[in-house]
Structure formats: C-alpha cells, structure tokens
C-alpha cells in the first residue's frame, strides 16, 4: 500500500482543478438556479486566452515572468465570455421555464467549442502549452510537479479569497442575500442583475485559473477539453452540495481522490479485476455521486433542498 500517499496527492491535484471549475457552476446555480453547461467551455477559452498571450510574448521569455500576464489574459477572455453569455444568452430568458436556458447553455457550449476549433489557428489538434519545468520534487515517497504546486496554491488562494469576499464585503453579503431570495433582495435595494453578473465573472475568473493550471499540468490544451472537465466539475458541485462554494471545493477534492484511488486499488479487490483501472475512473466517479445523492440528496455540504414559497 505504499503508493497510497502518491495516489492521494494525484487525487488532490486533479481535485483542485475540478474544484476551481465547480465554483463557477455552484455560484451561478446558487443565485439564479441555472446550470451553466457552457462553463466547461469558459474554462477552455481561458486556457486558449492564456496561450495566446504566451504566443504574442517575445520568444524565450521566462515562464514565471509570463505567467501573471497569461493569467490576466486568460481571465479577461473567460470573464468576458461568462459575462457576455449571461447578458446575451441567459438574461433574456430569465423567468422563462427552466428548460429554455438549459438548452441555450448547451447550444452556447457547442458554439464556443466549434468557434475555437474553426478559428483558432491549429486548434484542430492539441496545442502545446508552456510548462513550469518537469523535474519533480520529492516529499517522502511522493513526487510533486511544480505545475501541481501551482495548481494547489492557486486553488487555495482563490478559495480563501472568495470566502473572505463573500463573508466580509458588502457585495458578498448582497450575494448571500440574493442567493437566499432574489425577489426580497431586490426589494431591499440590491441590484440583483449586478450580483448575477458578478457571480458569472467570478466563475469565469476561477475557470481561467483552472484553464491555465490545466495547460501547465498537461502541457497541451484542446478545443474539446472543456467537455469532460466541465462534466466532472458539475459532478463535483453536485457532490459537494450545489450552491455551496465550500461544497464545490470539497466535492472536487473528494471526486479527484476517489478517481485516483479507484484507478489504483479497485482492480486489487478479489473479483473486481475487470472493474478497476484507468478506464473505469469515470464510472466510479459517477457511482460515488449516485451513492452520495442516495444517502444525502443535498450533497456533502448542502444544507437543504431549497423549497421556496
């Protein structure tokens, strides 16, 4: 069992990325009860935005110096698309039956994917992304990449920052109020449209950070990378209790660790040989989701299933 620490670490890194994307789902859902299925593509465009910045920077530039600029570039693209989607794709449908914005979201997701595929030069194949170096650090029996450290640190900073923002700032409290009851919040003088835009923007920002982390970690990005990552992040959000930002992060981590451990250990259980392995990681992720929803329908950190009057 001496691979356990390494597998836990693998899961932690993967889970941090799921968590970062899941926050975008959960905030939007918490405030407007919309599952933004285009969020995976917002994550993808963030990565492409960052790559574009890297490509226009002079050759041979130090990656550490370029990284802040790449983050800004990726964030600009993602936030712009997230806010644009809210303004032009979702706001006109607010108040419409819940199915309408869901369909728009799926349409938007396909449109963004195809737009990158067709218009981004060379995006029909994987695009190389700069890396922070490939020499791992060894902590005990665990080997850790610089890319992974970036990912975990970025996720922690985003999370703590968001928690502080929501708890202490005026806007953050307005967000809580809107999430609880948008109509009453509006009566209390809160500009709910502004709050919704902020929720989309924060989701986009975090997705961009996750997109850059994805590129750094795997060294390549793809026009269709948002689909699977988005699905996993959505699962993480539900697992953690959709609408709860801490739940999103926790759900991401649980999902990542579950995947890593399922890949590594399920095949060792007698009689389960055929059901383990890398190819089954997704299956076990969804089995976990189903089990949690059966036992605790509101998710790990969800408080209750909102039934508003």
């Amino acid at each position: 069992m001496h691979t356990l620490p390494q597998q836990l670490a693998n899961g932690l890194f993967l889970g941090s990325m799921y968590g970062l994307i899941a926050i975008g789902y959960t905030m939007v859902y918490g405030i407007v009860q919309l599952i933004n299925f285009a969020h995976g593509e917002i994550f993808m465009t963030g990565a492409f935005g960052a790559l574009t910045v890297w490509n226009v920077l002079p050759d041979g530039m130090n990656i550490w110096a370029a990284l802040p600029l790449m983050l800004i570039g990726g964030a600009l693209v993602s936030v712009l698309i997230a806010v644009g989607a809210e303004r032009f794709a979702y706001r006109p449908l607010r108040g419409a039956p819940r199915l309408a914005p869901l369909i728009t979201a799926i349409g938007l997701s396909l449109a963004l994917q195809q737009a990158i595929f067709v218009w981004y030069p060379g995006a029909d194949n994987a695009k190389n992304f700069p890396q922070l170096g490939t020499h791992p650090y060894h902590i005990g029996s665990i080997s850790v990449q610089r890319n992974d450290i970036f990912l975990v640190v970025a996720a922690a900073i985003c999370m703590i920052g968001l928690a502080a923002f929501v708890r202490t700032s005026r806007t953050g409290r307005a967000m809580q109020a809107t999430a609880q009851d948008p109509d009453t919040a509006q009566l209390m003088g809160i500009d709910t449209n502004r709050i919704i835009v902020i929720a989309f923007a924060i989701g986009g920002l975090f997705a961009a950070v996750a997109g850059v982390a994805f590129g750094l970690k795997y060294g390549q990005i793809n026009y269709n990378m948002g689909f699977q990552a988005g699905l996993k992040a959505f699962t993480a959000a539900v697992l953690g209790g959709i609408g709860n930002i801490y739940g999103a992060m926790l759900g991401g981590l649980v999902l990542g660790i579950a995947e890593a451990c399922a890949t590594a250990y399920i095949a060792n259980i007698p009689g389960m040989h055929q059901l383990g392995g890398q190819g089954w990681a997704n299956v076990w992720a969804f089995v976990l989701l189903i089990v949690v929803l059966l036992v605790r329908p509101q998710g790990l950190l969800g408080e209750r299933v909102a039934d508003r009057a």
């Binding site: 994987a126 490939t134 080997s143 890949t263 190819g279």
Partner: protein, 404 residues
C-alpha cells in the same frame, strides 16, 4: 462541368452513362470518375488522416498526367470521418450513392472501417484502406484461433495487419531491447485493444513477463494514477495500443513522474505530431509502422518531391505512400476492366463489381513496395519497421518482414 452533367444523367441511365463525351479534351471520348477518400481530416488523428487524402490526390494527378487510363479523368472526393465510426458509415453511404464514385481509399481507423465495410459490400464497391491494421477486418473475428474467414470481398488493404505488427514489436522488445517486464495499456478501441493483446501474447510466449495491464479512455487527460501504478510495477517498458492523442500525454506524465522507461506503440503513434507535442519526453520512445520508410525507397522519390512541393500539412510518412498505391490499384483496375470491355466502361453497377474483381488480381510495383492482395484482401507486402525517437525525429532502427 463534365461531372455535373454525369451526375444528372447517371441516375436515370443504366448502361450508357460512360459513353457521354464531353468534347473538352480534344474531341476524344472522355469520362470523369471519382475516387472517394474517407479519413479524419479534422480533429483527432487529422495529422495522419490528411496523408490519406493527399496521397490519393497525388496518385490521381499522376494518373491523369500520364493518361494511365486513356479516356478517363480521375477526381478525388474526400470526406471527413472525424475518426468516428458513425460518421464513417454516413460517408460510405454518401460515396456509394454518388454514381461517379468507382472506389474508395480509406479509412484511417480500424474501428471506423468496421462500420463502413458492409455499406461498400452491399454496393459492390471496392474499398482499399492504406492504414487499417486490425486483423478482424480481413480475416474475421476468429482469426487468432486459425479459423480465417474473409467477411467482405470488397475490402482490401495495403497496410499489413497488427498480427504482424504486434508480433514484430514484441520480438524487437524482447530480443533486441532485452526488455523483460512490460506494462501493457490500450485504449479499448478496435485498433488499440487488438494490437495490445497481440503484443501481450507474443511477448509472453517469448518468455517475457507482463508487469501489469490497464485500459484508458480516449479523450482522458489525467493519467497520474496510471503512472503511479506503472511506477510501482517496476516495468522496464510500457507498451501502448492506441493513437498518439493519448500516448503523447501518457509518455509526458510518465517521465514527469520519474519513470524513465520507453513507451512503445504501433503505427497509430508513429506521427510527427507525437514528437511535437510530447517534446523531450518522447526521446527514446518507439513505434512500429507498416512497410519500410517511404523516403528510403527509390520508387517513392518523385512522390516525396511532389508531396513536399504541394506543402501539404499532413504527414506523408505513415500512409501517404500506401494511399498512393491504394488509389493506383483502383485506377489500374479501372483500366483493366475497360480493356476487357473493348475500351469502354461498363454501366456503373457493373463497373464497380468488375473493379472489385480486378483489384483482387492487382499485381504491380507501387511506390511503397509490391502491391498485390492475398485471398483475404490483405497485402502480400508484410514489411515492417521499428522507429525510435532520436534527436526529435522518428529514426528507423529496424526493418524486416515478419512471418510470425
């Protein structure tokens, strides 16, 4: 113009559409026939898929320039299957419904071929793949037990099968590289899983040990858990059955995880894109591919020159030469059918099935070796090559004929 006129008339007429003269070629009777191409032209696998289209195009250009079949001008109709079986089947249907299409070159992926074979067989139209390597396609599902049955007489290929490729790789790994413990991973697709299982049984029969096995999903990106497993197994090599899209990520994560063992794969990995994307991590990795390096063949020099002159974005290296030969086999078959029919093309339905029979009798020296087919539709050319990544390039390290 000619094609347009033909398309309009061909549906209604049974026997005389070939006699239409266009008069734009000096007055002689001239007809236009189309050779279909099906391959992934966009998305995953497109780097190698485009090689099929351009290899065919060059064969057609040469045939037209040299008047290989007097009175016939050939054209290429290339359809994109995106490496998806369902799309490949739609394309096959579109090709057989186009009454100008006499035969098809493609596809790239064995899994796609599975969905297309029946469509071509029903229409009695010849399909020659320059790239499919799964033995099932020509020898039936039970080929491994020795019960070989050819499922479709319209299907041929100019690439040799995985039975040879996997065995050749196992032989090289065990006897030349002296590897003893190999971890085997595949992508669960027709091509990858087939190749991996052939490698596995051959490697074990040579006396090697299988350190572990696993399967991945196409489209996955995170292989860290798999890498940890491989590390723990202390394997001295990783064999991967699948395409470069996944293997380039696996080799990168493997080496980043501190596991410095080579990754070996089949022709699905033998692509410049693999090296470009995997970067330094690819150094020392190996891939087998069908045939010998096209650039070492004297007959292929004009082809390579022409290919490079057109500045095509795809690789000719893997399948361009075989596509050229596949298209040439169809063109020559058309010539043979017309010769036997007094210099005229029979009605399209008739012509298609006669071309199938003529392709079966193919026998000529192509640019990538001798082109002829056995009773299963497999090429009689069983040459294979092992390539290794050295200094950022695929370098041939061993060529040979594998006989089992």
């Amino acid at each position: 113009m000619t094609t347009g006129a033909l398309t309009l008339t061909a549906c209604g007429s049974r026997s005389d559409d070939s006699k239409k003269s266009s008069g734009d070629d000096g007055g002689g009777s001239n007809i236009t026939l189309t050779i279909g191409v099906d391959a992934p032209l966009t998305g995953q696998n497109s780097a190698t898929g485009l090689g099929l289209q351009y290899g065919t195009q060059l064969a057609v250009d040469d045939a037209n320039a040299n008047k290989l079949v007097p009175g016939v001008t050939f054209k290429v109709k290339a359809l994109d299957d995106k490496a998806l079986p369902a799309t490949g089947q739609q394309n096959a249907t579109a090709l057989v419904q186009d009454s100008n299409v006499i035969g098809a070159v493609g596809p790239l992926n064995s899994g796609v071929a599975e969905s297309m074979q029946q469509v071509f067989a029903t229409a009695n139209m010849v399909e020659i793949s320059p790239a499919n390597t799964n033995p099932d396609l020509t020898q039936g599902k039970d080929w491994a037990t020795g019960k070989k049955v050819r499922p479709f007489k319209t299907y041929f290929r100019t690439a040799t099968t995985d039975a040879n490729q996997g065995g050749f790789a196992a032989d090289y790994a065990y006897n030349t590289l002296k590897k003893k413990d190999v971890f085997v991973v595949d992508d669960k697709q027709a091509y990858g899983a087939g190749l991996a299982s052939i490698f596995k049984s051959k490697f074990a029969s040579l006396g090697g040990k299988i350190a572990g096995t696993d399967h991945v999903n196409t489209g996955d990106t995170d292989y860290s858990a798999l890498v940890t497993k491989i590390k723990q197994s202390h394997a001295d090599m990783l064999y991967y059955g699948g395409q470069y899209d996944e293997s380039e990520l696996i080799t990168k994560q493997l080496k980043a995880g501190g596991v410095n063992i080579p990754l070996m794969g089949g022709d699905g990995m033998y692509s410049d894109t693999y090296i470009k994307t995997a970067g330094a991590a690819a150094t020392g990795d190996l891939a087998t591919s069908v045939g010998v390096p096209v650039d070492t063949l004297p007959a292929a020099q004009n082809f390579i020159k022409a290919y490079k002159a057109k500045k095509y974005p795809g690789d000719y290296g893997t399948y361009g030469g075989y596509s050229y030969d596949a298209a040439t086999a169809i063109i020559k078959a058309v010539g043979a059918v017309m010769d036997a029919n007094g210099g005229k093309l029979p009605s399209m339905n008739d012509a298609r099935s006669k071309v199938v029979d003529a392709v079966q009798k193919t026998d000529f020296d192509g640019i990538a070796g001798h082109v002829a087919f056995d009773q299963y539709g497999d090429t009689t050319n069983k040459q294979l090559t092992v390539y290794q990544v050295k200094n950022g390039k695929w370098t041939a390290v061993k060529s040979g004929v594998y006989t089992g």
